[in-house]
Symmetry: C2
Amino acid sequence: MATTRGRPSSFDRDAVLDKAIRLFWRRGYEGTSVRDLSEELGIGAPSIYNAFGDKRTFFAEVLRVYDEKYGGFIDAALAEERTAKEAAARVFAEAPTRYSRRGLPTGCLIISGDAGTADVTVATRLRRIREAKVAAFADKIRADLTSGELPADTDAQALARYTMSTLSGIAQAARDGVRRTELEHAARIALGAWP
Amino acid sequence: MATTRGRPSSFDRDAVLDKAIRLFWRRGYEGTSVRDLSEELGIGAPSIYNAFGDKRTFFAEVLRVYDEKYGGFIDAALAEERTAKEAAARVFAEAPTRYSRRGLPTGCLIISGDAGTADVTVATRLRRIREAKVAAFADKIRADLTSGELPADTDAQALARYTMSTLSGIAQAARDGVRRTELEHAARIALGAWP
DNA sequence: TTCGTTTTGTAACGGCCGTTAGAGAAAGGA
DNA sequence: TCCTTTCTCTAACGGCCGTTACAAAACGAA
């Protein structure tokens, strides 16, 4: 596989991938052209195709690495916090910072990356990732239901949907340029809806 | 102005405009090409330019009429309900239906119409409309603050931001194909965050 | 009929889209 | 040195983008 023969690559693959993540993050899948990528990454289009495959394949890898490097705070909260409500509290506390960091694009690639995209393959992939996060939250809520941590009449799916929808609304507000403190105040209110 | 001379128009301007609204609503500004419009409306591109101006001008008119015909339920709630909380309750109650109506595109044109759009003129116009609705909600909240209808320590701007952000999150969930009943349950939870 | 006015259909403009063929460059192995 | 392998660069492909020039068509007015 990774033979050492042939002409060596002229760029650092990881560094270039990170630049691509930021560009897709900023402009979305369809708003980012291969020419844009070529200029931003400083490598020719054929080199992109050689190193990352076509645009869809490239974007799939971008999504995977983005989720690891930048977007994984939801999964972390679900895994590390004891209760679903504590996970929600942590997510709502962290989100405003995550969605408006200095030196990084605003908002969330997984939430808005497919916006206005005609490509159903890309849109479906992103939608599935989003749905998976709602399902993971609902699972955590159901665990707290059986343990009595949450009221028995709680609708787990609806509460998970509410949480992730509000989160995506906050991400969109961040994209609109709303100041971080205002996002934090809104997120604090959002947590108040939890039982 | 509306002279009766010259060759008569071959289409009903209002009917064609409504078709354009639905197409922009479904695919967004950038995802809708002039060729798409030409096919969907059943008229040639030159006729579109003659009747509605260029694409940006056309979209501006589409936005105006959309807000009147389909999107105005927020303004109506703010105008007709006595308190801000009653307006929020009505908006959260109506939104799931508004955002997933049979025979109409899902979601909201004003919320997602500029998604993935490079055109800053269009994006700014939509952002301003959204900000205006947040500001209107904040005004209504402040009125209830001075009248004692809401607790004195309420952050009007944050509560308005929370409400509109959650609403846009629900609209995005509708675009993702979430069932209306689930949206309604999530919206009911959202209202619970209000003081 | 003839004229002026407005809308229509055809056809094209330059420009960007994703993608790739083909030639040359730069490395290791023999 | 020469060969194989791999990457890079130039250049182009067909296709869609928004937009418009131009001429034919269809009306009211004269």
